[in-house]
Amino acid sequence: MLGSIVNLAYLIGATSFVWGLRQLSTPDTARKGNLLAAFGMGIAIFATMILPMTGVANNYPWIIGGMLVGGIIGFFAAKKVQMTAMPQMVSIFNGLGGACAVVLAMTELVHYYDRTATLSSGQLFIVLTTLLIGAIAFTGSMLAFAKLQGLVWDSQVTLPKHHIVNYILLAATIGLTAYVYMGGVGLGMTMAIGLMVLSLVYGFSFVAPIGGADMPVVISLLNSFTGLSAAAAGLIYDNNIMVVGGILVGAAGVILTVLMCEAMNRSLFNVLIGGFGGGAAAAIGADGDQVAKTVTINDAAIQLYYSQSVMIVPGYGLAVAQAQKVVKELDDLLSSNGVDVKYAIHPVAGRMPGHMNVLLAEADVPYPKLLDLEDANNAIPNTDMVVIIGANDVVNPAALDEPSSPIYGMPVLNVWEAKHVIVMKRSMSPGYAGIQNQLFFHDKNKMLFGDAKDSLQKLVSEIKTL
């Protein structure tokens, strides 16, 4: 009877995982999905506590103690972490999951080698797999965390010809695993510990050459590993929900990793071969030793969608791209979602007096939305996002702080006083006045390269999916 209830609870738990993940993949239901998955986990843990086991000591205090400690640590870590440090946190959590699998596997091996328990050859295989995958997930995640947190420089953890080193390490690890598997119970604990160490080293070395910008992809992949190790551990304990949950996460993790690569326009292979990762993305915006950060359409869409106020700064590039109607579409879309959208019209934007007025009137932007220089500069400090569409000279801070600049003294839009700035243009090339723009390298600024109409159209589609 109790057994059936536990079975049912597990079934419910597993279904909650599936349905929770499903809901997690739609913005509207994501939060509910997370709660559902958490509920499934709660049920599964509770069921495991009451699962009928004959002739065991239960040792509940140990369990409950451990749960309290872990729960509190996890809870506060999650609450305290900065919004911007989320990916790191996920990476740590993931590593701990991997570590848990390692601990389980090692415990089994301890019992196996001191002959207090036996393992069939199939079971031994599973235990070793758990160990191997869990260990890689553990150290890999920890290094990923360290990189994201800025605790290490990429270069400091890379050896020359690192990916060859990695291949060798991987071969060694797999070889040792096979050896331990074949060796049987006579081999002793030392070998097992050796295997663990080697796996841990490989996990570290695997992540080492991959660039900081690619860390999210790596974390997702390692997350998939943790899932697989949990599934393997589930096979050890013949526990359905561990198997199902682990496999589910394993599969989802793989797909998610691929999707994340796609979103970055890279292949998984390209990311994993390492070394190029961090470099490639940043190179576009480089100028001497200054680097302009770029933003993906996706991130730009989110930032816009969740802003309170957006200021659009049109420039000559808007006219060249003939993007005025798409701008209006973006405006309508954001406005209908409660974002306050205004336009900052610099007096000399474009190539003739009133150029921007002509374009925006054509797109039917209501006059009251257009602010002139003075009003715009007053409004900018309270603006969440400034979106600069093909403007350049009119937002160049050199006009204020670079006496040698030919435009020094010209009033410009002080866009950098807003919380965030996005510049849409096709390249880093200068505008009419032919001078470089320091704004592009400003802390608050991100570049969105491409033809303005194109970028805007993509933004609109992206926001529609939110």
């Binding site: 599964a44 040792n59 609450k79 601990v103 415990t107 301890v110 943790t226 998610l256």
Partner: protein
């Protein structure tokens, strides 16, 4: 070879289940908007904390005097629990951002 075949035949339904679970895993994720990549990763990570169940089973079955096992098991529970609780909590925080609007 034979053992594998036998394993296959006897665990057939389990294998169906695994295959279907994998497909489900793919399917459920395949259309996620890029916005949700990070929260989804985080949520999936929390689920992978299901490994804690192994640690619980380990402790429950352990000899009360086998402190090595108990210790390791408890370590496992702690690690797993951090993953589970932290994972869900951090996901929830990320997703809080999204609730603001939605007509």
């Amino acid at each position: 070879m034979d053992t594998i075949l036998q394993f296959f035949d006897t665990n057939l339904i389990m294998i169906y289940l695994l295959v279907f679970t994998i497909i489900l895993g793919f399917e459920v994720i395949s259309k996620v908007p890029t916005v949700l990549h990070t929260p989804l990763m985080s949520g999936a990570n929390a689920i992978s904390g299901v490994v804690i169940i192994g640690a619980i089973l380990l402790i429950r079955a352990a000899n009360p005097n086998d402190f090595l096992t108990l210790g390791l098991g408890t370590l496992g529970v702690i690690l797993g629990m951090v993953n589970v609780v932290g994972g869900y909590a951090v996901t929830d925080r990320m997703l809080e951002m999204f609730k603001k609007k939605k007509k």
